[in-house]
């Protein structure tokens, strides 16, 4: 009996010792893992900060230029940016190329870019050379306004004199969108060619291909402000 009591006593002591040991060790475990977690957090924060800073610098130095392609050898191209020649460098791993058709974009290759394409390039500019991140091949539009000086009702053509003294010859096509400002409500209303008068102010959008002659274009959009607006 004595032996049994002693055995039970020893078992209880051992169990108690082990329990105490485990309880005592638990905080020490958490204490030893805490610095690791803190360091990991710090590293992550530092990484995020660096990533943000890099993104900020990239955005700051990121510029966009556009113009008609003069030449392209697959590694670099030259574009005519309003009379100024810019060189565009392609990066094999970084540069992406897209062709925009309406609201859609389709990925293309550097070699698909042809002479006289209209290119929009975004990237880092240094010494007139831009290292391209993105090259978009799109259409070039001219948006301008002026006074109608001449109307040819037979050819559906108007002559427009702009404020910078340029004269444009605009052809009205069947798909030309024609709007007129309602002088009372200022809303835009669809109108026909017959409503257009000499002396009216016109805002227009035309597509430029770079091969036009005598400033002659097919109008894509026309917005007329009737002369009555200015004499009311």
């Amino acid at each position: 009996m004595k032996k049994t009591i002693l055995f039970v006593y020893l078992v209880i002591c051992l169990f108690g010792y082990l329990t105490l040991n485990v309880v005592a060790q638990t905080p020490s475990t958490s204490a030893s893992s805490s610095p690791t977690v803190t360091i990991n957090k710090d590293i992550q924060q530092l990484k995020d900060k660096i990533a943000n800073k890099v993104s900020e610098i990239r955005k700051k130095n990121n510029k966009a230029i556009s113009g008609f392609v003069l030449s392209n050898d697959g590694n670099k191209m030259k574009i005519n940016n309003n009379g100024e020649e810019n060189q565009v460098k392609f990066d094999d791993t970084l540069t992406k190329y897209f062709k925009i058709t309406g609201a859609q974009k389709k990925e293309i290759k550097a070699n698909d870019i042809a002479k006289n394409d209209y290119a929009i390039v975004s990237g880092i500019v240094a010494d007139n050379i831009i290292t391209a991140n993105v090259v978009l091949i799109d259409e070039n539009f001219l948006v301008d306004s002026g006074k109608i000086t001449e109307i040819n009702k037979d050819n559906y053509n108007i002559k427009v004199l702009t404020s910078d003294k340029n004269t444009y010859s605009l052809d009205f096509e069947t798909n030309t969108k024609q709007f007129m400002v309602n002088i009372k409500t200022l809303d835009l209303e669809r109108v026909g060619f017959s409503k257009v008068k000499e002396g009216d102010t016109v805002h227009f959008v035309v597509k430029k291909t770079g091969e036009e002659k005598n400033n002659s274009y097919s109008a894509i959009k026309i917005l007329i402000i009737p002369q009555e607006y200015f004499i009311k």
């Binding site: 955005k59 990121n62 510029k63 966009a64 556009s66 992406k96 897209f98 925009i100 609201a103 974009k105 929009i120 975004s122 993105v134 978009l136 799109d138 070039n140 539009f141 001219l142 948006v143 301008d144 306004s145 404020s163 709007f179 400002v181 200022l186 809303d187 835009l188 102010t201 805002h203 959008v205 894509i220 959009k221 917005l223 402000i225 607006y229 200015f230 004499i231």
Partner: protein, 143 residues
């Protein structure tokens, strides 16, 4: 010939000469009055416009050749009060009456290059319209 006849002829010639000179001066005045006035003389400028300073069109946002990652942009700036503002791009035409001097317009963008022309027609029609032209590049961040 009688002396009276000679005097009558002389007086007739004198009177005729005076009338001719008078008509010639008068017709010059009539011709000048009939001529069109090309520019109004300074004293004929509408008294309402004297001393009026037209607020110039200023565009504070966005900057020309700005790159944005959204398909809309806010056009912010100032223009003359009650003027007509016309904003045009290949995808959108917008006309508004600028009730206050400041304007803040949301304007849609197409992917790629957006040529935007802003013209302000002042309420005082004698003033010339003011214009700004900017290019804004919408380049999707996914590209």
């Amino acid at each position: 010939m009688k002396k009276e006849t000679m005097v009558a002829i002389f007086l007739g010639l004198l009177f005729g000469g005076v009338v001719a000179v008078f008509i010639s001066f008068k017709s010059k005045d009539i011709e000048l009055a009939k001529n069109k006035v090309i520019a109004p003389p300074p004293d004929k400028v509408s008294p309402d416009l004297i001393g009026i300073k037209l607020r110039p069109l200023e565009l504070t946002e966005p900057a020309d050749r700005a790159i944005v990652e959204n398909n809309t942009v806010r056009l912010k700036g100032t223009a003359a009060k009650d003027s007509l503002i016309v904003v045009q791009s290949p995808i959108k035409d917008l006309t508004i009456s600028n009730r206050q001097e400041k304007f803040d317009l949301e304007f849609p963008l197409a992917l790629g290059e957006n040529s935007i022309k802003i013209v302000v027609y002042p309420k005082e029609k004698q003033f010339r319209p003011q214009e700004k032209f900017i290019k804004v590049y919408f380049i999707d961040s996914e590209l």
